[in-house]
Assembly symmetry: D2
Homo-oligomer: 145 residues x 4
């Protein structure tokens, strides 16, 4: 794949927004990495609820987050809001990869790559992605791979 | 009721223990109130799992925490462990009150009073406490009210 | 004091807003009490930053939250936003009490009373509230007690 | 480097332990990824406090976590405890990489690679690691790279 630039707001069509909380701060007085992870989780849940939930519980059952890579790029301070962009950067046989970023205005705070595998609820083993799901992932994001 | 002393370790028979986490700290470098609330929640869940769950899902369905009063008594610092004591201080017609405290060694960090009401899952209205449940609350704690 | 109605949006002049996060949910699929406590904390921090911080670090040093009473009034679900109202309901010699509520649209999710004591950073004992601070508390909220 | 097996308890000399909390659970009734990230943070803080803090604030100033890669390997349930192992898998010119894992008994729940860069507090640019620090990292873990 020709990797998109995850630090560029133009790479994202699907957005959500979170409010920074006082409880997100750590003893260094900036937002803790754990809070940034929670923002990104909200981006993925929003993506799923807006663009995949119409596929029904059957097609959505059995997805597991197996690998999560995040690069922290700038400090974040309270108070304020962040925008979370979520897209698709790889569709494989039984897994796909989401690209994400947290922005404060034009500053990219963090980028992430998140690998999600489809598993059989019965056996726990990986199973192929459904074509309908693959198309929904492409339709939501413009990804053409 | 003749109120027991919630700051006294001898007032509690049911105990659980939590590890203080770095993420519990706030910008003042002491443990945030929210973390202390989470310790107390663990005490109540442990109490329920150890002393009430044998009563079956039927008798446990429909309990709602309606009022929570906490007094913060001492600062708490990372790292270390805390002990959480949980007891019963009132049994009423359709509700009961739990008394709790968080201790670090012999220092009482916080005490709490927590009112739990039994509600009907169908109507959402309060319903009387079952005698079996009342006895289980007394047996677990020695409360005789 | 003639107590104001904490469940009424009209009782509040100072507002903040928080986004509900997926990580706020507990196994019952509704927002955990701990998250509601965090929203209220944001309300108090915003109140302090907007209406008291101009008084300087000197007048603000040494405030400690000693008692927190919350009544949970309605279930809260993801996703969405909440409004947090914060006011003053009592000004005493060395302490004051804040009244607060979390609303989702017109539904009051929870109300809280929070007692804050001024202590000397040196001795740890309570000290009288400054008249300038008392006036700032009244100016921010309209409280006339 | 010849990579060590991060899923093997024998790869770690430095350990910490955390209690699983009810608030770590998500609506799927298993421990949320965010809680697992918090356990790993505790492992790194403990490592630093036990094996690096004697080097003084000067040598420790200016470390920034820049990249965090975690593989989630097994579901984790409440209640219980987890052991967190933390070691060193790479020492570079101005950065080092920590290897970590969360275990429940003999089950590896997650493994992580965490890149930490030394930056100048004044300029924000990366600066070389001190030889004393490099030796402390090796002494604590047995890493010989």
């Amino acid at each position: 794949m020709s990797e998109i630039d995850l630090t560029d707001r133009a790479s994202y069509r699907v957005w959500t927004r979170d409010t920074i909380r006082y409880s997100d701060l750590d003893p260094n007085d900036h937002v803790n990495n754990g809070a940034i992870n929670a923002y990104l989780e909200d981006g993925r849940v929003r993506f799923r609820n807006q663009h995949l939930s119409h596929l029904g519980a059957g097609i959505l059952a059995g997805f597991v987050l197996v690998k999560y890579t995040i690069e922290y790029r700038a400090m974040l301070h309270f108070p304020g809001e962040v925008d979370i962009g979520t897209t698709i950067i790889r569709i494989g046989g039984s897994s796909y990869t989401q690209g994400q970023a947290v922005f404060r205005d034009d500053t990219c705070i963090a980028t992430a790559r998140v690998v999600v595998v489809r598993v059989s609820p019965e056996t726990g083993r990986s199973v192929p992605l459904d074509d309908t799901l693959k198309q929904a992932l492409r339709d939501a994001t413009g990804f053409d791979g």
